[in-house]
Amino acid sequence: MLALIGTIAVFTGLAAAAALVQQSMRALRTDEASPRGPRIAAFAMLAAMVVAFATMEVALVTDDFSIRYVADQHARATPLLFSIATAWAALEGSLLLWALILAGFTALVVRSVGDGDRLGLGASAVMGGVALFFIGLLAIGGNPFEAVSPVPPDGPGPNPLLQNHVLMAVHPPLLYLGYVGMTAPFAFAVAALALRERGPAWVQRTRRWTLIAWSFLTAGIAVGAWWSYEVLGWGGYWAWDPVENASFLPWLLATAYLHSAVVQARRGLLGAWSVALILGTFSLTILGTFLTRSGVIASVHSFTQSPIGPALLAFLVVVSVGSFGLFAVRAGDVSSIRPLESLASREGVFLVNNLLLTVFTFTVLSGTLFPIILEAVNGQEVSVGRPYFDRMAVPIALALLLAMGLGPLTPWRSTTRAATWARVRTPVMMGLVAGAVVVVAGIRSPYLVLVVFIVAVLIAEAGVLLARGAAGRRGGRAQRMVDVVRADPRFWGGQLAHIGIAVVALGIASSTVLAEKAVLRLDEGRPQSFGGYSFTYVGGVDRREAGRTIEGARVVVARGDRVRRELRPALRKFDNQVQPIDTPAVWTSLTGEDLYLTMTTREAGRATITVRRYPQVFLVWTGGGICALGGAFSALASRRRRRIELDSDSPRAAAEPVHV
């Protein structure tokens, strides 16, 4: 029954996507260009995908093993939360969620299309085309609603790694919201090229989509890093794994795009470049999906095992060749017309930022693809791993941080040295003082001191800009600050995101430079000390759970005479896997220091525990959260401002020149 409903819903969605393309194209050919037809199609598609997804959830929650996906991925013993999350734990389910989100974004885009809005209709057609591909993949490549006969009494349950932490339930939807959200600006960019729409209209229309998608992507990456740290037990949060790079690559280019879009909106520069960036971002989301979903990473030869790999590859080729081909032909029509006056200006710093972000993307991309391409070309197998990416990323990231610190302080257009110095002086002084304090406190790593300096510059800069903006206003101090932020929420959202990035950088620097690691062979009841703490093994824990055995150690952590925590690192041995998996025990102290314990071996009365001390590593996810919040604030607050503007007749100019 459910299998039938789900299959019908998927095929209805497919038909609606086709109708959306057809209706949009037809409306484009008429004079009035009415969006009525596309709107009906888009909402039908959304309704169909909601029904399909809800059917899957119902099937999972009610243990309906007559559906193939449920039979393959679910077990009666799975707890409710993970039953719900199982809907996106494997390939077909992820595609279903992807299609649902895409249908949602499409409905929102189509809803914003007004009468005679050719650009919007063009974008609707493109979004319909993308939806047609993804729902088609779902319907033809791997229908999760296929019926199973005979119906099995129980299933194997989802991948064990995905069902032991609540973060894994939120991570994929966040990432998909980010990936799929990039379809909207891509659709508008392609429509602008195809319809020869010049100027920043499409950039302004898609700004909010891009910001929202970017915020979700940021949050998704941060949550993924956190999950990797809490669950995988190798002691880190970012391994430059191809799957991680697949999410980081579109993030980098989308970040470049957000900045070039500001320049285009403010100064009418970099028009064609912005188009190229958004086309690249979308192509990279498809590339990322291809890399993570086709099995090509495990081996070049394995990706044809499911029809989805070749289909995604074909779509990637169509998207990148098609959109960049269109771009090559039409770029002149969308390029901007105003001159750049000086490199020592805000535009100049934006250019440098774009250059660095693009080179960063290029480096990560070539490192990720090189082994795959080389193996495909001549069978040679090489690895490109963390040491390579770290070495390449650190200098680029530091240069980006510097540009990020300087950018908001430099004025638009051009400037004199004296004017720049007047702006830069106070933040730089604060940065130097902060650096000096850290050095006096005993930190000798130039890398960490530099990051502290930049973070202090950024925070001081926000303070200086706030104070300067507030100086000319009336009311109490808090009220004036709020007014300043409200006057230009986009800018202040950006500042918040910058501070988030700086906090991430601080967390990375501190937890890398100051990390300590020791392997302690603990005899039961005999404490050993490390990093200012003492560790005592007080006994083992053994548990048998569905499909796995858990073999853990109880370790009492004390500082001085005070017992702080009992931590229980464990090894999980899965019945169907040879290698055991470390389950770390993590404790964040009040001073922000993490103790990260993993158990290596355990014998009678004795355990070998690896202890890692990571100072301030929590800043990495906190900063990621701040960054995502900044993006969301910038996206959502500006909408409120527009409403306020419409209500009041206060001249916009008065609200503008905080940051000149």
């Binding site: 030869h301 690895s383 040879v578 290596t600």
Partner: protein, 346 residues
């Protein structure tokens, strides 16, 4: 401000404790764990990763250099084992490309800026003034055209650059492949011939059991060097059936000349041992064509000719050829003894 800067500079330059790098940790972080998904042996909790770390520790203690240890692992497991791609051979491209991209990008930005600046100076000199008013005067028509042309030129330029990068990458990686192979062959420890023929290489992952290596091989069926290491292991232990089984698979899979040469060599020797000296000699000869200077292959072939085929002259000429090269004294002794044996055979 100056005081703070001084504190930072003095603090960072003075009394920096001499760092004592943990070589075992840093080398382990650069070696890929064979059974995991892209983890280094320093990060992986698996048993084999711990054993391999033990091998690294032993080798560091034995005073071998980082490069020697990496070469050792590369020889065992293939180039695949190095997480930090070496700056030679095909992977040199990875180190060159980002620098080229940065330089090219910077050149485009600068040319974009300077051509635009010329435009500004020619067409609207008053705009060059610092802190000018917000609103631009509408640029004249020819400025629009010129700017568009500039934009197109820089776009064409960047596309050409990207294409050139990609083409260069493919060309360089293709042309450097051979030299990468040579470098690897040179890094390989030369065979120890103090023991019986078929002893393979001297050092081995003695602490890793066959079962674990089997696991590695079955987890990475495409990785030929690992399988060949396992063949050598079985060969040395005298488990010829297991060795042959893997040698056959390796011979089927080996695409790289280096792998192919070793696969042919080991299969040839195993075939000869299994009682088929003619076919064994043929395989060894093929292997020798791929690397005419491989002492192991020459040694195997000489033995097959002498004892299997009774081709004394052929064996003697091979052994004589080997003696013309620079050899460690103990190897020279073994080869000379074999040559004497050949000449003594009626």
């Amino acid at each position: 401000m100056i005081a703070s800067a001084t504190v930072i500079v003095v603090g960072l330059t003075a009394d920096r404790a001499p760092a004592s790098p943990d070589r075992v940790a840093s080398i382990s972080a650069r070696l890929r764990c064979p059974v995991c998904q892209g983890e280094s042996i320093a990060d992986s909790p698996s048993g084999i990763a711990r054993e391999l770390q033990g091998v690294v520790r032993e080798q560091v203690a034995a005073g071998r250099s980082d490069a020697q240890i990496e070469a050792f692992f590369q020889q065992r497991y293939g180039g695949w084992v190095l997480l930090d791609p070496p700056r030679r051979g095909a992977t040199l491209v990875l180190w060159v490309l980002p620098v080229v991209a940065l330089a090219g990008g910077a050149a485009i930005v600068i040319s974009f800026w300077s051509s635009r600046r010329r435009l500004v100076e020619d067409a609207a000199p008053e705009v060059g003034d610092a802190n000018a008013v917000e609103d631009d005067p509408r640029p004249p028509d020819e400025l629009v055209l010129d700017a568009r042309r500039t934009a197109r030129r820089s776009l064409v330029g960047s596309t050409a650059l990207a294409l050139a990068c990609a083409a260069g990458a493919v060309a360089v990686s293709a042309s450097l492949r051979g030299s990468g192979g040579e470098a690897r062959a040179a890094d390989r420890p030369t065979p120890s011939m103090t023991t019986a023929p078929g002893a393979g290489t001297g050092r081995d992952l003695s602490s890793v059991s066959e079962e674990e290596m089997e696991e590695v091989v079955s987890a990475n069926p495409q990785v030929v060097p690992m399988r060949l290491a396992l063949v050598e292991r079985y060969l040395r232990k005298g488990e010829l059936e297991a060795a042959e089984r893997h040698a056959d698979v390796a011979l089927g899979l080996a695409a790289e000349p280096d792998d192919r040469q070793r696969a042919l060599q080991l299969s040839g020797w195993l075939t000869a041992l299994a009682g088929n000296p003619t076919e064994g000699a043929a395989l060894l000869t093929k292997s020798l064509q791929l690397d005419p200077n491989d002492l192991d292959t020459q040694w195997f072939l000489a033995n097959v000719r002498l004892t299997g085929l009774g081709d004394i002259a052929g064996a003697a000429s091979l052994l004589e050829g080997m003696l013309t090269r620079e050899l460690a004294p103990e190897k020279r002794t073994v080869i000379e003894a074999k040559l004497a044996e050949a000449r003594a055979t009626p």
